[in-house]
């Protein structure tokens, strides 16, 4: 099981909004492929999958906020 954590984006930016999951729970993803899109004031960021596998669980839904360091999803 690999946890997908939100890495630091910019100093002072502690929160982002999850705007889009590129994969649904149960779908496969390859390491390095875009997994989730995140929005801040300055720009939109795509977070690639840290490992290959099935998206087991999504912990932050689209439209919700996430904090730096928070686990966004789990890949198995």
């Amino acid at each position: 099981m690999t946890e997908v954590k939100l890495p630091p984006i910019a100093e002072g930016v502690e929160k982002v909004s999850v705007s889009y999951w590129h994969r649904a729970v149960g779908e496969s993803v390859n390491e390095g492929e875009d997994l989730v899109e995140l929005v801040t004031d300055k720009a939109t960021f795509n977070l690639p999958a840290p490992a290959s596998g099935k998206l087991k669980e999504v912990l932050v839904s689209e439209g919700d906020e996430a904090k730096v360091g928070q686990v966004l999803a789990k890949i198995e």
């Binding site: 630091p8 929160k15 705007s19 995140l38 801040t40 720009a43 960021f45 977070l47």
Partner: protein, 311 residues
């Protein structure tokens, strides 16, 4: 309360996030010492990318500025704190730990200092030089109130690139850089070139602040007249609610046309794109200029391989 979140940005303002060991090391190194980075102070959207590549731009003379530029998020105060005497050695320690091969040094503006902080640039450059001749150093200086002696102080320390950002076009100075002067900034670049014609010089312009193509064209021509070799052009992004608003988002296609125009005017290297910042991939500009120096025939090819293409 603001969440710092908006959905107003255009689709091309999109980047990939990286989470790797280098990012962790960079954050750890920078949090251990008392060194500041402009990456953090300016809330730069490239921070994650640069830090995960082990790159950072050091901010000398503290993190409080005596000027109040409308675009900048650095804290302003008329009399900032005294400077940290150990700053040059702390910057060197970070350079060593992060194994930086191309160090960019910049500073807040310190109008409260007789030399504008030029001595601090010189000391830090020399300290890094004494540690390693291999490390390339870029000094991105404030305007030193136009003081040629300050320019000389920095140049005497031998930076590989002498940079000063005009930031915006002449017409927008009163609104964007009220404490600065466009002509003075150009003179600063000119004086560096006059003192040492072999010195690589560099400047940067933010777009999206209300300038038009004519304004921008004039700024480019003025920079070329001042002998400026390297130009970076990027999208202004509002760092905080008290900063000046973004007037518009310049499209990637327009950034391409700015680049073409700048190359036609004779800049030796141009980086132009939405996420381009003065120090973003700064080493690339330096090394490409050196390649073009030894292979003049390849100038066109090399200068087309630009930062913006990666974005």
């Amino acid at each position: 309360m603001t969440t710092g979140i908006s959905t107003q940005t255009p689709p091309w303002l999109k980047k990939r996030l990286v989470a790797n060991d280098v990012l962790g090391l960079t954050l750890k190194t920078l949090s251990e010492g008392r060194v500041h980075t402009v990456c953090g102070s300016s809330l730069c959207p490239n921070l994650n990318e640069c830090f995960s590549n082990g790159q950072a731009t050091f901010l000398l003379l503290g993190n409080i500025c005596t000027r109040g530029c409308a675009f900048c998020s650095v804290e302003k105060r008329r009399i900032p704190r005294p400077v940290n005497a150990d700053e040059p050695s702390e910057v060197l320690a970070a350079v060593k730990k992060m194994n930086i091969r191309y160090a960019v040094l910049t500073s807040v503006t310190r109008d409260d200092f007789e030399d504008g902080g030029a001595g601090r640039f010189a000391d830090t450059i020399r300290l890094i030089r004494n540690y390693s001749e291999e490390i390339k150093i870029e000094a991105l200086v404030p305007d030193f109130r136009g003081d040629r002696k300050a320019v000389e102080t920095v140049l005497d320390a031998g930076p590989d690139v002498f940079a000063h950002n005009i930031e915006t076009v002449e017409r927008l100075y009163p609104a964007v850089r009220p404490g600065a002067n466009y002509r003075r900034s150009l003179s600063l670049l000119r004086s560096a070139k006059d003192m040492d014609p072999g010195q690589l010089t560099k400047s940067s312009i933010m777009t999206g602040l209300g300038e038009d193509d004519d304004d921008l064209g004039l700024a480019m021509e003025d920079l070329r007249s001042a002998g400026c070799d390297i130009l970076t052009i990027g999208q202004y992004l509002k760092p905080g609610k008290d900063n000046i608003d973004v007037v518009r988002y310049v499209t990637p296609r327009e950034f391409e046309s700015y680049k073409k125009k700048a190359l036609e005017l004779g800049f030796r290297y141009v980086a132009s794109g939405p996420f381009v910042r003065s120090s973003y991939k700064a080493e690339k500009a330096y090394f490409e200029c050196h390649k073009t120096q030894s292979h003049k025939s390849q100038v066109k090819f090399l200068t087309c391989d630009l930062v913006s293409c990666d974005l």
